[in-house]
């Protein structure tokens, strides 16, 4: 609760709203104690005095009544009526909602149908009908406004109650022989009250506005009694000659409603956990780059794509998560490089950083380079980066249901991959899309081109994802766990498809996965990542045969082998360290059986000879010896 108030206080606008609202309410409360003139005392000799006149600070109205006094009394009345209407609607709505939600079944059905009917009206029509039946007057306007708002409360509270009615503590109360009425008052109500209060706080401004509106129409408070709405309504006839009589009550309504809205927004934000984590911010077109120093334009490396000491961090509030801390990789045309690691090891972030696709905020690339044929793409102008995306370096993502646009036909999504980089006619685009679908072995490509993603199976959608990556004949494909969401037979088909494409087209593939089985099928080389770093690198077959890093060894031991007889599948105990508080030395030391005190000190380098390298002080196999 105090955390809630802290959050609320941190929101300056909400705090401002709270203060203004507090002042208005305080003023309304002490109005009877203030030395004010009788608000209804007419004095036709002093009609329409302007503001700051003697004895009338805000001037007088058409009947010579003191506007300051009328304003304060009117505010008091408006607040009281608005609050009463909100309270009445909340109590009645909650009662209806609890009964519907608690009893369920037919009771629920009948009540909710009636609520739906009430909601089918434009709200003011219903209010007008009620006032028409009861006759104009403040109390009747209050009743009308509350009745119109009952459905809103009833729906909300019903939803909460339905959830509560199935909870264990309610079952326990039933078994203990409590009556329904007791259960409602002792078990349900206490849990529902906070929701009622919040719903009330967000609607009270609305209620004040609505009752003021009815009074403005002449259907609410009747003369001489005046709330803010009827003050405004009466002043309307003198709007042009004496605008101050209209402006004063109007501004007051504006102040009240605005401060309540500010406060309501603050309350809502304070209660929304997504705001705290910053999850509601939208990712920008390219990841933010904030490198301390730009790396020197390095001599050409052998690979078509090479990463050099890449660092990507997530800045959330005052915490820094080092998702990728100094990764160097390279891949040659026609080669497949596997990047393997547990979830959270930084492998996907590494892949996304290459083309600036890490969501930012909170992602920031803080160092290193990602070179395509020697040209650094980190920090490249967005326009340049965009023309490379999809054309030279294409991505295949995991979970194609989420990664394909749900409302576009797959054919159109394929064509768009091309048309983003070169003009293409409609008929040519369609032909090309069909050709692409055929190239990933989708049957009935001519029909499938007009399908929406939800009309396809998971494997089929993944093929569409691959087809999309191939659309512009890229040089590099970065596949981010493209088979994780698929079942094993489909996975095997997709892998062999990728393998064929690589051979046919000379593609360089960076294949991100957590599965050594998949790596073994497809990748020439593999890099093992742990806690944002590469801990071992080398040709796949050599590493599989004789892993050097204890972590790699444990990972390989996790893969079941068909026909390998009885073997204990060992899970790795413990969890990877959180990347916002990495220990010194080896990040795996805490989970490693071979760890020595020296493992937890200083920086351990990725060392090796020839094609292999390992980041370990006590590797399972000494690399220098092997190659010697």
């Amino acid at each position: 609760m105090s955390a809630f108030f802290k959050l609320l206080a941190r929101n300056r606008l909400a705090l401002g709203g709270l203060i203004v609202m507090g002042l208005v309410v305080a003023l309304a409360l002490i109005t009877p104690l203030l030395p004010l003139v009788d608000p209804d005392a007419t004095n036709t000799a002093n009609r329409f005095l302007p503001p700051f006149s003697d004895g009338a600070l805000l001037g007088t109205d058409a009947l010579g009544r003191d506007l300051l006094s009328r304003l304060l009394w009117g505010t008091r009345l408006s607040l009281a009526v608005g609050f009463a209407a909100a309270l009445f609607a909340a109590v009645a709505g909650a009662a209806v909602g609890i009964i519907a939600g608690f009893y369920g079944g037919r009771t629920d059905n009948i009540i909710m149908r009636a609520v739906d009917m009430l909601m089918a009206f434009p709200y003011i029509l219903l209010a007008l009908a009620i006032v028409a039946a009861l006759g104009p007057g403040l109390v009747n306007a209050l009743i009308a406004v509350s009745v119109v708002n009952i459905p809103f409360f009833a729906r909300n509270i019903r939803g909460i109650t339905v959830g509560l009615a199935n909870k264990e503590f309610v079952d326990a109360a039933k078994l203990a022989g409590m009556s329904n009425a007791r259960i409602i008052t002792s078990e349900i109500l206490p849990n529902v009250v906070p929701v009622i209060v919040i719903a009330m706080s967000t609607t009270i401004g609305w209620m004040i506005l609505e009752t003021a509106g009815l009074s403005f129409l002449g259907l609410g408070s009747q003369p001489p009694q005046a709330d803010l709405g009827s003050m405004l309504g009466e002043a309307r006839s003198a709007l042009i000659t004496n605008p101050h009589t209209s402006v004063i009550p109007g501004i007051m309504i504006l102040i009240i409603v605005m401060s309540i809205n500010l406060l309501g927004d603050g309350v809502r934000d304070a209660l929304d956990p997504r705001l705290k984590s910053g999850a509601l911010s939208r990712p920008m077109a390219a990841t933010r780059v904030d490198r301390k120093h730009t790396p020197a334009p390095e001599a050409r490396t052998e690979g078509i794509l090479s990463l050099e000491n890449l660092r990507t961090e997530f800045h959330v509030k005052d915490r820094i998560y080092k998702a990728v801390s100094g990764v160097s990789l390279s891949v040659k045309p026609g080669e497949c490089l596997g990047v393997i690691g547990e979830s959270g090891s930084g492998k996907s972030v590494t892949a996304l950083s290459i083309m600036g696709l890490v969501a930012s905020p909170p992602g920031v690339i803080t160092g290193g380079a990602a070179r395509l044929e020697g040209r650094d793409m980190i920090g490249a102008r967005y326009g340049d980066l965009r023309t490379l995306r999809g054309r030279r370096v294409a991505y295949i993502f995991q979970d194609p249901l989420a990664t394909l646009h749900p409302l576009y036909k797959v054919g159109d999504q394929l064509v768009e991959a091309i048309s983003s980089h070169r003009a293409i006619s409609k008929s040519e685009g369609r032909a090309k899309a069909i050709e692409l679908l055929k190239s990933v072995r989708i049957p009935n490509a001519e029909e499938r081109v007009d399908s929406y993603p939800h009309e396809m199976s998971g494997g089929m959608r993944q093929r569409v994802g691959i087809a999309m990556a191939l659309a512009n004949d890229p040089d590099v494909i970065i596949a981010d766990e493209p088979t994780t969401a698929l079942d094993v037979t489909v996975q095997a088909q997709i892998l062999s498809l990728l393998d064929d494409l690589r051979r046919e087209r000379g593609l360089a593939i960076v294949f991100i996965t957590h599965d050594f089985g998949v790596v073994a099928q497809l990748c020439d080389r593999v890099a093992v990542m742990y806690a944002g770093r590469i801990v071992e690198e080398g040709p796949t077959m050599e590493i599989l045969r004789a892993p050097a890093h204890p972590y790699t060894a444990r990972l390989i031991a996790c893969v079941p082998e068909l026909g390998a007889g009885k073997r204990k599948l060992e899970a790795i105990p413990g969890l990877p360290p959180s990347v916002d508080a990495l220990p010194a030395g080896c990040a795996f030391a805490d989970r490693c059986l071979k760890a020595q005190p020296s493992c937890k000190e200083g920086e351990i380098l990725l060392e090796g000879t020839g094609s292999r390298a390992v980041r370990c002080l006590y590797p399972e196999l000494s690399l220098s010896k092997e190659t010697a």
Partner: protein, 315 residues
Amino acid sequence: MGSYILKRLLLAVPVIFGITVIVFLIMAMIPGDPATAILGSYATPENVARLNRDLGLDQPLVARYFIWLGNMLHGDFGQSFSLNRPVIDEVLERFNNTLILAGTSFVLCTVFGILAGVVSAARQYGFADKAITFVVLLGISIPSFFLGMMMILIFAVDLQWLPVSGMYAIYGGGDLPDLLHHLTMPALALAVVATGVVARLSRSAMLEVLRQDFIRTARAKGVKEGRVIWGHALRAAMVSIIPVLGIQAGFVLSGAVYIEIVFQWPGIGRMLVDAILQRDILLVQGGVVFVAACYVIFNIIVDVAQSLLDPRIKT
């Protein structure tokens, strides 16, 4: 698609039926002899007798409801005593005027609301976002009737750009330019609140969508950022914006009551308020049922639009 529309229309029948029941029950709350209540100051013995005969007011409640319903189904909404003309004629004429006003406002709030929301989301926490957020907050906080009055003071009285009130000039008016001239202020005043609501919702819907994986896919393909925002993201966000547009239509229709009073617009809202003050019960009854039914039909249109936009909805 045809069968989907038919299904929605069939589902609307019980809703409209329910609306008539609710209106009837509310009107049945009027204390005293119904004929006298309906006629008010026009309650001469002949009128009372005629009304009792026409509406079966001397019969039990249920019978009265069905007589009323039957009459309405034949297009007979009764006779307005204060205006001395058939209710349906008056309602149709007035509703037409309200449609011009509310329809214009609805278009304005849709276009500007979505525009503001998208820009706000695309520039989250930037200057444009903050400016829009502030204007939106002001817009949703100002009572439309007060805003309308202030607009009259500024644009009609001070600057003399636009007429103070009415729908057509009294002399020599009546053509389209004249109508637009009169329509500008009330339509804007009415649109402000709804625009604010639509803008807020569009902003949060866009922010929600922009975090989705398929946006990242579009960017990974190299789609231009403008198309990512106004194509991919907005298209997906529309799925949650459209239902709110349906609700906003109701708000615009409701808010029209105030605006029609402020600007002396001869619409159905002003007719209802006058009818209530005159205690012309049949006119109120007929007007409310008619507008509510139209609103139900409008919501069907919204649903159909939604199903056209979202192929995942089974039609």
